[in-house]
Amino acid sequence: MRIVVCVKQVGVLGDEVEFSDDGRSIDPEFLDFALNEWDWYATEEALRLREARGGEVVVATVGEERADSALRRCLAMGADRAVRIWHGGLDAQDPISIAHALAQIVEEEGPDLALCGVQASDTLDAATGAALAGLLGWPVVTVVTGLTCDPTSGTVAIRRELEGGLIEVVTASTPAVLTIQTGINEPRYATLRAIKQAEQKPLAVREIDQIEQAGAVIKTMYIPERSEHAEMLGGSPPEVARLIADIVKQRVG
């Protein structure tokens, strides 16, 4: 079977924040970049399916050149090849726009499954995977914590996690989009040798055919004013330990 894993290179915010000139995003100088944690699990799940059933794992991302390092990390884990798609006019903060770009790749690849992470740790939309399914006309199952493929019937038996940890059992027919939750598996780390070999694996770069209408447009980004913030306790570790013990004792006796 062929599986496309849609991954994202997320921004990780440090202690300092400055915004870009248009005031709509964070100045990239103030971000570190990493593979989205949920996508790490999604890639692992795809590799396990390939190892059990044979086939091919293609990792796809929407982003500029620096996103190649996220793809290389997935290739080092064992993905077969990668595709990065981009256009300077794309609003990378809008999940609907990202889904349009991913749909272009998925339609070309024609996989049995497209796996996405449940959400990206920076934008927290939890929307790209389902939006992709909407554009493809495919079924979608969100927040998947377990899956078993039955290739003869073309179905996937799925466990998904609802609020409060309730587990629902769902069957879906393929092709389908599944959004993968953390904890579904124990993702592998790449060996140094695999990281080196990943440099030789194919990574295609594509241009987005057409920019589609965004689902929403960020007008401004700003630091929230907090009306409530913790009273900070200062001092050495023994001093703050004493303060914490006293506060707890007052409250619970």
């Binding site: 915010l13 202690d15 790209t128 309730l166 069957t171 879906a172 904890g183 913030h229 570790p237």
Partner: protein, 322 residues
């Protein structure tokens, strides 16, 4: 069907009851209806929706729509068809639903398919000169964004739980059926059932004192120190999601949206930065004390007392002290 504008709430149920998150969305809808104008409609979807329709008849609701489908449980393909047809037919200005596991399946799918405006995990909104502005908190709440929907006549917003008060007072809405023909050949997702939760594990929801640990404890071998400390304090040991995902602690110890929602007298958090997932499960605690190395960690926005320090160091001192 003629355009009616207004606000459409898509309700959710769990175990046959209207979800608390939907009650919150109803009160948000009523507030938005006041500023944006237009009626507030709540749609309930399922097999036997009469009692759910009664529950959804809340103060501030003008109309309840009963939509009958073949399953009482959520199936994303069915909901995509039903909600797509309902929104395309009635053309509300705004569609509201909880930012839930189920809504993030149907809502982005039809927003992309039909070209509706869309944003999720919304923490507040307002009408600026008749233009809807939604507020989100990316980067774990370290920044905020105002988002608009300049091109779309209809926008779907999924609202974060625990922000708006839950609507409780009964209303006097007009209740009617809304018929949608679901194309069964396009229903490719099937609800099979729910898994029983294995018995045992701590009762976090009833614990008066919870000591919780997160990624900041850095190593599985350090869990024991905090388990000992919880014992000495007479607290129940809790955890954030990443430690459960990593297999350091059993899932019955997880506090958060996808675990236990807790309200102890004291919540003592070590090495927890405070993801949305975690804060949703513990922000109602009576007294929150947080120890974390990152002074800008979102946990300090809900904590009453905060310490910027290494969780291990403070825990070791407390262990010696008690």
């Amino acid at each position: 069907m003629m355009a009616v504008g207004g606000i459409l709430v898509v309700a959710e149920q769990a175990g046959g009851e209207l979800r608390e998150a939907t009650r919150e969305v109803v009160s948000a809808a009523a507030a938005l209806g006041d500023s944006l104008g237009g009626p507030v409609t709540v749609a309930v979807i399922g097999q036997d929706v009469d009692s759910l329709g009664l529950a959804a008849n809340l103060e501030g609701v003008d109309e309840v729509l009963l939509v009958s489908t073949s399953s009482s449980e959520f199936e994303s393909d069915t909901w995509r068809q039903v909600c797509g047809a309902m929104i395309a037919g009635r053309r509300p200005a705004v569609v509201l639903a909880p930012h839930s596991v189920n809504a993030v399946a149907w809502a982005p799918a039809i927003a992309a398919e039909y070209g509706f405006g869309f944003t999720s995990d919304v923490v507040s909104f307002r009408a600026d000169e008749d233009h809807l502005v939604a507020v989100r908190e990316p980067f774990a709440g370290k920044v905020r964004v105002d988002v608009g929907f300049p091109e779309q006549a209809t926008s779907i917003l999924l609202l974060r739980s625990g922000i708006w008060p839950a609507a409780k007072a009964p209303g006097s809405a007009l209740v009617s059926a809304f018929d949608v023909t679901v194309d069964a050949s396009r229903v490719r997702t099937r609800h099979e059932g729910f898994e029983e939760v294995p018995p045992g594990g701590p009762d976090l929801a009833k614990a008066p004192f919870i000591l919780s640990i997160g990624r900041g404890i850095e190593d599985k071998d350090n869990v024991q120190l905090f388990a000992d400390l919880a014992d000495k304090f007479g607290a129940v040991l809790g955890s954030s999601r990443p430690l459960v995902d990593a297999g350091w602690l059993e899932s019955s110890r997880q506090v958060g949206q996808s675990g236990a929602v807790v309200k102890p007298q004291v919540y003592l958090a070590f090495g927890i930065s405070g993801s949305t997932e975690h804060l949703a499960g513990m922000r109602q605690s009576g007294l929150i004390i947080a120890v974390n190395t990152d002074a800008r960690a979102p946990i300090f926005n809900v904590a009453h007392f905060g310490v910027v320090a290494d969780a291990m160091q403070v825990a070791e001192e407390l262990n010696d002290l008690l």
